[in-house]
Amino acid sequence: MSDIVELPDPAGSGPRPAGDARRPATRHLSLPGLGLAVPGIALAALAPAVLPAPGWVVFLAFAAGLALAYAGLARLGRGVFGGSFDLMFWLCLAWLVVVVLAAILAPVLPLGEYRDIAKTIDAPAMAPPSLFSEHPLGTNNFGLDLLARIIHGARASLLVSIGAVAIGMVVGGGIGILAGYFRRLTDTVTGVFTNSLLAVPPLILLIALGTVLEPNLRNIAIALSLLALPSMIRMARASTLTFAQREFVLAAKAMGASRWRVMGRELLPNVLLPLASYGMVIVSVLIVAEASLSFLGLGIQPPDPSWGNMIAEGEGNAFQDYPHIVLVPGVTLFLTVFAFNLIGEKARKRWDPRQAKL
């Protein structure tokens, strides 16, 4: 049997080991992949710049170009890196890297004016996006540069959301481990506390806090962390309950480890991983929450940009005549949330022990 398999099989029929079949099957994808990707990218790049056609034709050509490029690149990737290559994942990762880098480097990047309307008196107001001009993504009604505002908005958004996740992880993880390890009264009190936090719908909680707190980055991060807190506490508590029964905890206790040492050195490292992967998932929820709050006018206040308050600028008639006011921050928000969701979903499938069984 085995010598039959090793013979070359020109007809392509007959059994072949899966490992052998994979390489030739994917290698031949590279060339057509490249063939699809290059014209696709060219079409997508040239459509908005060159085509002298009405808006929706350009849009269709652009979308078709993107689809072609995606199909081509996916094939190219599978051909070069093997069959399990997931192009969408890498695209999402690349987008997040770009957003984060831009947000970090915002002060040194050669961007237009994002905040001070006194400096933009000469700049065109409501300029539509045009890639090779001074304002690649256009300007708003004060002539402020939208690209600069998007990037500075990303700073606020990411800072607030990631800060909130960090607060949630530290505080929630701590409380959850305490509740899961001490049980009894600590657990009951924690349970009532988390249930009470969960008893107020998230956005209502944020709005109520918005009435009370001064809307600055620190306070918004604290308010958002209250959304992450209950689930963090519950997850940390649940993992602690299971890990506290395991032999390594028993061994540590038998060797005379104190309660704090057991919690800090034995339980914490095990609880942290599911918390971190959940943190990835919840970042996107918090970004949306911050954007919603700013959209409602209760979050980050203009003239400081945030994706939410930029979208709010386009509400009403401005949206009708200048759709880019809404679409530029809207698409950025969508892509970022999508990327976090996709990567978070992958991380959760991989590291969350409860999901792994499913």
Partner: protein
């Protein structure tokens, strides 16, 4: 059984107590002063002191909380600080039906679309439709509801002009007009819910469809549609019901956003408007009512498990 119900009721009471304290404490934590909100600009120190006394702002926290809770339990949530100082309970009673109608309509639309969609996807798992539905729902879940609402307004209200945007006709006046005005807000709410429901129900259905009783039903010669609706749907709806409880928070959130976008006179508009002006009794009352509804709905959902699966009924005893 009675014991578990009692325990659950005690839990609910404890949670509502903490929420009411938290809501009331908002005033104490606030940098602003309710008395100044009422007086506005240009008042004397005596007027200010007298009003603070009259409003009971000088009493200790517990006394004020006690009297607020006492009247709240009798259905009196105080009066608004902003003229025309209307009764908070009345305003909430007027706003609540609007929010409830839009939310229920959105939820119904989501269920009507997502159940058949999930069935098709699960029955033809990994087929073309399934993959498109999977990618589409994942994408929709990444669109914040305020963005979806704006886009829907742009297309259906501004461009096509099929639906009105910023008016509201009460249910009592004209059913047709009312539905015409409620359609776009409900659609905005339904989008995200549809995506979520479809994904969850599809996953559960795929598990259920591998059970022996489904095979038996198919072997008897029942049609796939009949098997899906009469045999597979009920055992697959647990996660959906759980999710309904979890997503209720998001549902209320998107209702608030949608009311703001479409200028509907519902709870969301009431809360945001009052929050903007520092009208504390209104915010306190509205938040308390929303939390009450939310907690009770979740308790009802817990009870519905027993109805859906008799095994849980026995397990509780």
């Amino acid at each position: 059984m009675a014991w578990s119900v009692l325990k659950r009721l005690a839990e609910i009471a404890a949670v509502l107590f903490v929420v009411s304290v938290g809501t009331f404490a908002l005033v104490d934590l606030t940098p602003g002063d309710p008395a100044i909100t009422v007086l506005g600009e240009g008042h004397t120190a005596e007027e200010y002191a007298a009003l603070r006394d009259e409003m009971g702002l000088n009493d200790p926290f517990l006394v004020r909380y006690g009297s607020w809770l006492g009247s709240a339990l009798h259905g009196d949530l105080g009066t608004s600080l902003i003229p025309p100082n209307s009764d908070v309970t009345e305003r909430i009673a007027a706003a609540l039906p609007v929010s409830a109608e839009v939310a229920v309509l959105g939820l119904a639309m989501a269920l009507v679309v997502s159940i058949p969609l999930a069935m098709w996807s699960a029955y033809h798992a990994d087929g073309r439709v399934d993959r498109i539905v999977g990618a589409g729902t994942f994408g929709i879940l990444s669109v914040p509801s305020f963005l979806a609402g704006l886009l829907i307004i742009m297309v259906f209200s501004n461009q096509l002009g099929w639906f009105p945007r910023a008016e509201w006709v009460r249910l009592g006046e004209s059913l047709g007009d009312n539905l015409h005005h409620a359609f776009l807000p409900a659609l905005t709410i339904a989008l995200a819910e549809t995506a979520m429901f479809t994904r969850i129900l599809r996953g559960d259905l795929i598990t259920t469809l591998q059970e022996d009783f489904i095979l038996a039903a198919r072997a008897k010669g029942m049609s796939p549609v009949r098997v899906l609706f009469s045999d597979a749907l009920r055992p697959s709806s647990f996660s959906l019901i759980t999710l309904l409880g979890i997503s209720l928070g998001r549902l209320i959130g998107s209702t608030v956003i949608v009311e703001y976008l479409f200028a509907l006179p519902g709870m969301g508009t009431l809360i945001i408007g009052s929050a903007d002006k520092g009208d504390f009794p209104m915010v306190q009352g509205a938040v308390l009512v929303v939390a009450l509804i939310y907690v009770l709905a979740n308790a009802l959902i817990d009870l519905s498990y027993g109805y859906l699966d008799p095994r849980i009924r026995r397990a509780h005893v």
